[in-house]
């Protein structure tokens, strides 16, 4: 019986835990509740993935109202994979958050922090699991509003302006999505994604539908920080608390990419998105621009968190290049990179969080000589960096390899050059940190710090270890991504 309820529990469990967390006075208890719920959510996601691999599709009707009228949750391999990424990252980052957040956030705000975290988790999981277009907007706003709160809790006052900037741009993006959903409803009279997919092919020349698609792409582009629309991202990631940066960098943009892919491939369909609309050209140009400009700007940053944030902009470029191919192979590359990039950026931002915990700063100049004082943290960072570059035996290599293969399948060899140049630029910015950490001496008056505590190192190494594990064993990541891509393009 409980197995039938899993799709609902995936979202309602963190939703119910959020007000309970608000009632708790002690930050420690709130953290414990948050970790427990997140771990159970991970368990549910794994069970759902297993079931989806077996059955193909799990449908859950809310309130007992059948599909086109009620809200339904549709779990297939694609979103079960995304659910696993989100809940897995949330759980591992939460293990890190207890000490890290306690050092950055006032005691009386701890339980509020974890309440916002749970709501953000609810929103992200809900966005991934729902089969209803309007419901997706609501969950998008739940996750966005709570992430503005989480970012504003950063220790620096610039966290406030970063959060404000994100709020303005995020709300414009969400309102664009709302317009798109409204136009879709006006044309088709339905909000259910599967129902929409059935009605859109008859309306391929409809101008309202084209407008809806354009609004949706721009709105999602704002939420996933597609190049020219990424301006909110560097500040938000730089000034948010360390744990929040790791959580959001590894999940929030990923879920938006998933939602865009879902609309492109299964709601509007490849024929509409790529033949009736010039989406391919736009994604290739913007993806290339994102890879090159994001990596180049990252080289000139003086703050490690900001450098990684620009690197995220570049990585989103790779995801878009994979989508632009409009083939199963390209989609596989995007989905596998979704998973691997979550592991890399999660691990890297946690390693930076360890440094911030001991040093109280993430400025590059202050990290001089850190390689010998905090050997484990720096080693974790270096391995994460190698994965980001795409060295063999790391998860990053698998993503790059699959992407290059997919690009060559289409015969678009200039894009291979872009991918290689992007990797070379990544070598430069990662090298700057390696050089500072190992080849410079500790600056005067800054020699009082030691290795980060074990409670921070363990979650960091969990994610960094996963980078190596999934660089060698690709059963879970690559094979599931391949099945998911086949499902999206074929079904």
């Amino acid at each position: 019986m409980i197995l039938n309820q899993l799709p609902a529990l995936q979202v309602t469990l963190p939703l119910i835990a959020a007000p309970l967390c608000l009632l708790l006075r002690s930050g420690r208890a709130a953290w414990l509740l948050c970790v427990t719920v997140s771990t159970i959510a991970l368990g549910i996601a794994l069970l759902l993935l297993d079931e989806a691999l077996e059955k193909g599709l799990i449908v859950y009707d809310f309130g007992g109202w059948a599909a086109p009228w009620g809200i339904e949750y549709r779990v297939d391999v694609v979103n079960a994979f995304v659910l696993m990424i989100v809940s897995g990252i949330s759980t591992s980052v939460l293990l890190f958050a207890r000490i890290s957040a306690a050092s950055e956030i006032d005691d009386d705000r701890q339980s509020l922090f974890y309440t916002a975290w749970l709501l953000c988790l609810t929103g992200l999981l809900g966005m991934a699991i729902t089969g209803d277009a309007f419901n997706l907007f609501v969950f998008l706003e739940i996750s966005s509003l709570s992430s503005y709160v989480l970012i504003a809790m950063g220790p620096d006052r610039r966290a406030l302006t970063a959060s404000y900037q994100y709020l303005i741009m995020g709300t414009i993006g969400a309102t664009f999505i709302l317009i798109a959903v409204g136009l879709l409803y006006l044309v088709t009279g339905t909000l259910n994604m599967a129902d929409l997919a059935g009605r859109i092919p008859d309306l391929a020349d409809n101008r309202t539908l084209r407008a809806a698609f354009a609004f949706l792409t721009v709105g999602m582009g704002l939420k996933l920080a597609l190049f020219p629309l990424h301006l909110w991202l560097p500040n938000a990631y730089t000034y948010a608390p360390s744990a929040v940066t790791a959580f959001l960098a590894a999940t929030a943009t990923k879920v938006a990419v998933y939602a865009l892919a879902r609309f492109m491939f299964s709601v509007f369909g490849t024929a509409f998105a790529f033949d009736s609309m010039p989406l391919q050209l736009i994604l290739v140009v913007l993806g290339t621009a994102a890879v090159l400009s994001g990596s180049t700007i990252a080289i000139f940053q003086h703050n490690v968190k900001r450098m990684l944030a620009y690197s995220s902009v570049a990585q989103i470029g790779y995801l878009m290049l994979g989508l632009s191919l409009a083939t199963a192979a390209g989609l596989t590359a995007t989905l596998v990179h979704l998973f691997n990039h979550a592991l890399m950026k999660g691990g890297l931002f946690l390693a930076v969080g360890c440094m911030a915990y001991r040093l109280g700063t993430t400025r590059l100049a202050d990290l001089a000589g850190i390689g010998f004082r905090m050997p484990w943290t720096t080693a974790a960072f270096v391995i994460g960096g190698l994965s980001l570059i795409g060295l063999p035996l790391t998860a990053g290599f698998i993503s790059k390899w699959v992407l290059v293969q997919a690009v060559l399948e289409n015969g678009w060899w200039p894009l291979v050059v872009v991918i290689v140049v992007g990797a070379l630029l990544a070598v430069i910015y990662i090298w700057r940190i390696v050089e500072t950490a190992y080849f410079r001496t500790v600056s005067e008056g800054r020699d009082d710090f030691v290795e980060a505590p074990l409670a921070l190192l363990l979650p960091t190494w969990l994610l960094i270890g996963a980078n190596i594990y999934f660089g060698i064993h690709t059963d879970l990541s690559l094979n599931v991504a391949r099945l998911a891509a086949d499902f999206l393009t074929g079904g």
């Binding site: 019986m1 309820q5 609902a8 529990l9 309602t12 939703l15 119910i16 959020a18 007000p19 309970l20 608000l22 009632l23 859950y60 009707d61 809310f62 309130g63 007992g64």
Partner: protein
């Protein structure tokens, strides 16, 4: 404004009426226009009027922030709890039919409790928002 007798008297007469109207909108929502969102806002309006006339410090003694925080959470728990109870009874989340032997009766109970949860949370959140903004100056 608490020195103005006209305002004070009018406020004292108006507040019970506003509260009563809020309860009417809340509980008559099953049969006519109304419901938790509207009722919650009207209910909160009574407290905001009180705070405007008698000051935020007086309003804070009537509804302390800790109480508001608890009530906000309880409303949401009531809402989600109804869904969970219907799950425990072997039906889908928020399927009211499962709440009683007769589906019509079940729908009635379900809507009533869910709207109550919504009303409580909306009222508490509205008062919290007002006090959070208006009371900012008083704090050290």
């Amino acid at each position: 404004m608490r020195d103005n007798p006209v305002l004070r008297v009018v406020t004292k007469i108006a507040i019970p009426l506003i509260l009563l109207f809020a309860l009417y909108v809340q509980f008559h929502g099953d049969y006519g226009p109304g419901g938790g969102f509207q009722a919650g806002v009207i209910f909160a309006a009574a407290f905001i009027l009180y705070a405007l006339v008698f000051g935020t410090r007086a309003a804070r003694t009537v509804v302390p922030p800790a109480v508001l925080r608890t009530v906000t959470a309880l409303g949401l728990i009531l809402f989600a709890g109804v869904g969970t109870v219907s799950q425990l009874l072997g039906s889908q989340f928020l399927d009211y039919d499962a709440l009683a032997d007769n589906p019509l009766h079940g729908q009635h109970i379900g809507i009533f409790l869910v709207e109550l949860g919504v009303g409580i949370t909306v009222a508490a959140v509205m008062i919290t928002l007002f006090l959070a903004f208006a009371g900012r100056q008083d704090e050290p």
